[in-house]
C-alpha cells in the first residue's frame, strides 16, 4: 500500500513538476511571476474535454490542447507582460496576470459551469492496469509519468543543447546584454511563454484524463502549489522544479496515506518554509546579489 501511494505521489508530482517548470521557466527568463499560468493548466483539461466531446480521438485532443495552450500563452504574454518589461514592474506584471487569470476563470465558468465536468474516454483506457514487480499499476498513470518526464527531458535538452536554448539562457541572464548581441528579446519571451503554456496545458490534460473530470478551480489550487514548488526548488531552476514537484507529490500522497489529508497543503507550505530556512534560495537556487558582483 505504501509503495503504491508513493508511486501515486510520484505521478502527481510529475504533473506538479510540469506546471512548476513552466512557471519557473517564465520566472527565470522574464524575472516575473505569471499568475495566469495555473488557469492555462486548468483550461488544458477543458480543451481536451471539449475536443473529445466533439469527437476527436485522444491523440488529436492532445494536439489541439497543445496548440490552444500555446496560443493562450501568447495572449497572456501580450496582454499582461509586454508593457511591463522594466525591472520595477514585477508587481504590476504579476497583478495583471492575476487579473487575466480571474477573467479566464470567470469565462470558463460561464461556458462549463462551476461544478466539475466529466471527461468520457473509451472505457478500458482509464482502468487498465498492468502488474510490474508484484505491484498493480494503472497504465494511464504510468503513461502520464513517462510522458511528463519525457517532456521535461526534452525541455532540459532544448535549453542546454540548442541554439534556442542558448538564446533563452542569454535573455535569462540579462535581457539588456542579450539585446546587444542581437537577440530579439520579445521573440524569446513569446517562445518561452509558448513552451511553458504548452507544458501547463498538457499537464491539465493529464489531470483531466487521470481523474476523469475537469474543474474550474484546479488552476488556482495547483498554481498556488506550483509557487511553493518553485521556491523549494529554487526560483528559475528547472531541475529544482522537477525535484520539488516530485517531493511535493510524494508528501501529499503520504499525508493522505497517514490520514491527515486535510493538512496536505499546510505540510507542503511548511516544507517550503523549512527548506528556505536551511537554504534561503531553495534547493538549487542562488541568492546572487548582482550588486555585490559589481
Amino acid at each position: 500500500m505504501l509503495v503504491e501511494q508513493i508511486i501515486n505521489g510520484v505521478v502527481l508530482g510529475s504533473m506538479y513538476a510540469l506546471i512548476a517548470q513552466g512557471y519557473t521557466l517564465i520566472f527565470g527568463v522574464l524575472d516575473k511571476l505569471n499568475f495566469a499560468h495555473g488557469e492555462i493548466f486548468m483550461l488544458g483539461g477543458f480543451v481536451c474535454l471539449a475536443s473529445v466531446a466533439l469527437g476527436a480521438s485522444l491523440p488529436v485532443a492532445i494536439l489541439i490542447t497543445a496548440i490552444i495552450s500555446g496560443l493562450l500563452g501568447l495572449m497572456v504574454e501580450f496582454v499582461g507582460f509586454r508593457k511591463f518589461r522594466s525591472a520595477d514592474a514585477h508587481i504590476t506584471a504579476a497583478l495583471s496576470s492575476f487579473a487575466i487569470g480571474l477573467v479566464l476563470i470567470d469565462l470558463s465558468q460561464k461556458v462549463w459551469g462551476a461544478e466539475p465536468v466529466a471527461l468520457t474516454l473509451p472505457g478500458s483506457l482509464q482502468t487498465a492496469t498492468i502488474t510490474i514487480a508484484g505491484l498493480k499499476i494503472v497504465v494511464l498513470r504510468l503513461a502520464i509519468l513517462v510522458i511528463s518526464l519525457l517532456l521535461m527531458l526534452v525541455l532540459y535538452l532544448v535549453v542546454l543543447r540548442t541554439g534556442l536554448g542558448r538564446r533563452i539562457r542569454a535573455v535569462a541572464e540579462s535581457p539588456a546584454k542579450a539585446a546587444l548581441f542581437g537577440i530579439n528579446v520579445t521573440r524569446i519571451n513569446q517562445q518561452v511563454f509558448v513552451i511553458a503554456s504548452v507544458m501547463a496545458g498538457l499537464a491539465g490534460l493529464a489531470l483531466a484524463v487521470r481523474t476523469g473530470y475537469s474543474s474550474t478551480d484546479v488552476g488556482f489550487t495547483f498554481g498556488l502549489k506550483a509557487l511553493a514548488i518553485m521556491a523549494i526548488g529554487g526560483m528559475g531552476d528547472l531541475r529544482g522544479a522537477l525535484l520539488g514537484g516530485l517531493l511535493v507529490g510524494v508528501i501529499e500522497a503520504l499525508a493522505f496515506q497517514w490520514g491527515v489529508g486535510q493538512f496536505a497543503d499546510v505540510f507542503v507550505w511548511l516544507f517550503m518554509i523549512a527548506i528556505l530556512l536551511l537554504r534561503p534560495a531553495g534547493l538549487f537556487g542562488t541568492l546572487v546579489s548582482k550588486e555585490i558582483r559589481a
Binding site: 487579473a99 487575466i100 480571474l102 477573467v103 470567470d106 509557487l227 528556505l276 534561503p280 531553495g282
Partner: protein
C-alpha cells in the same frame, strides 16, 4: 445599510494600510488575510467565550497576530524578497487550515456570536492609523524606511539594522490587519475560514498597489475604490469577476504605478526647515 458601508470601507482602508506599513520596509506581504483571520478568531474567542469587551479583545488579538508575524518573519527575512512573499502565502494557507481543523472555533462551519462593532470604532481606528502614518511621514524614521526599501545593502552600510526595521513593520502590519479583522468579524456576527483565504490576501495587496504605494494616501483610496467597484458593477452581477479583472488590467495599463503614485519629496524636505 450605511453602517455596513462605513464598516466595510473603513476595514478595507485599514487592511490596505496594513499592507502599506509592511511595504514601507520593502516587503510585500500576502499574509494579511491570515493575520486578519487571527484577529477575527482570537478576538471572537475572547468576546464570545470569555466575555471580554470588543476593544481590549481586538487589541490583544492584534498583539497575538503581531507576535506570530514577527516569529515567522524573523527566520524568513534572510531569504530574498520573492521567497519572503511566498512564505507569507504559506502563512495564510496554514492559518486557514489550522482554523478549519479546530472544533473549538467551529471548524469549517465557522464561528458565530460576535457582536459589538459600531461605526465609530472603525472611524476612530482609521483616524488613529491615519494620524500615525502622517506623523511617521514627517519623521526621520520615514527616511530610514525609505532607505531600507530602496537599497538594503546601502542602508546596512549606513548602520541601519535592516532586519530589525523590517520585523517592526511586519509586526505593526500584522497588528493592524488583526484589529481590522476583529472589527470586521464582530460586525458580520458569523465568519467562516473561507473568508480569510489567500484570495482575500491578494485583494488586500491589490487595494494597496492599485492606489499607489509611494505615499500613505494611495492604499486607503485604493481600498475605498475596490470596495465600491462591486457596487458599480452591480448591474453586471453575473459578470462581476470578469469586469473586475478587466478594470484592474485597464488601471494597471494606464497607471502602472498606481492611481496616486507621487512621492511627497521636496515638500517634505522644505517643510523640515
Amino acid at each position: 445599510m450605511m453602517q455596513d458601508y462605513i464598516v466595510f470601507v473603513g476595514v478595507n482602508m485599514v487592511l490596505a494600510w496594513s499592507v502599506y506599513v509592511i511595504l514601507l520596509a520593502g516587503s510585500l506581504s500576502f499574509a494579511n488575510g491570515g493575520f486578519m483571520a487571527i484577529g477575527a478568531y482570537a478576538s471572537g474567542v475572547l468576546t464570545v467565550k470569555f466575555g471580554m469587551p470588543l476593544i481590549p479583545a481586538a487589541l490583544i488579538a492584534g498583539l497575538i497576530a503581531g507576535a506570530v508575524g514577527v516569529l515567522v518573519g524573523f527566520p524568513a527575512l534572510r531569504t530574498r524578497g520573492i521567497y519572503l512573499m511566498l512564505v507569507t502565502v504559506g502563512i495564510t494557507v496554514s492559518v486557514k487550515a489550522v482554523i478549519e481543523s479546530i472544533d473549538y472555533v467551529g471548524g469549517i462551519q465557522g464561528f458565530g456570536g460576535m457582536v459589538g462593532t459600531r461605526p465609530w470604532h472603525v472611524i476612530a481606528l482609521v483616524i488613529l492609523v491615519g494620524c500615525g502614518l502622517w506623523f511617521l511621514s514627517k519623521s526621520p524614521l520615514q527616511r530610514i524606511l525609505d532607505a531600507v526599501r530602496e537599497d538594503e545593502l546601502s542602508a546596512a552600510s549606513l548602520g541601519i539594522n535592516t532586519v530589525y526595521v523590517k520585523l517592526v513593520c511586519l509586526g505593526v502590519g500584522a497588528f493592524l490587519a488583526a484589529v481590522a479583522g476583529s472589527f470586521y468579524a464582530h460586525h458580520l456576527i458569523h465568519v467562516t475560514p473561507d473568508q480569510f483565504g489567500i484570495v482575500v490576501s491578494v485583494f488586500i495587496v491589490l487595494y494597496a498597489v492599485l492606489g499607489g504605494t509611494n505615499n500613505m494616501w494611495g492604499p486607503p483610496i485604493g481600498g475605498v475604490i475596490m470596495t465600491l467597484i462591486p457596487e458599480v458593477v452591480r448591474g453586471l452581477e453575473s459578470w462581476r469577476p470578469t469586469a473586475f479583472g478587466v478594470i484592474i488590467l485597464v488601471l494597471l495599463l494606464i497607471r502602472p504605478d498606481g492611481l496616486l503614485a507621487f512621492r511627497d519629496v521636496t515638500t517634505r524636505a522644505k517643510k523640515i526647515w
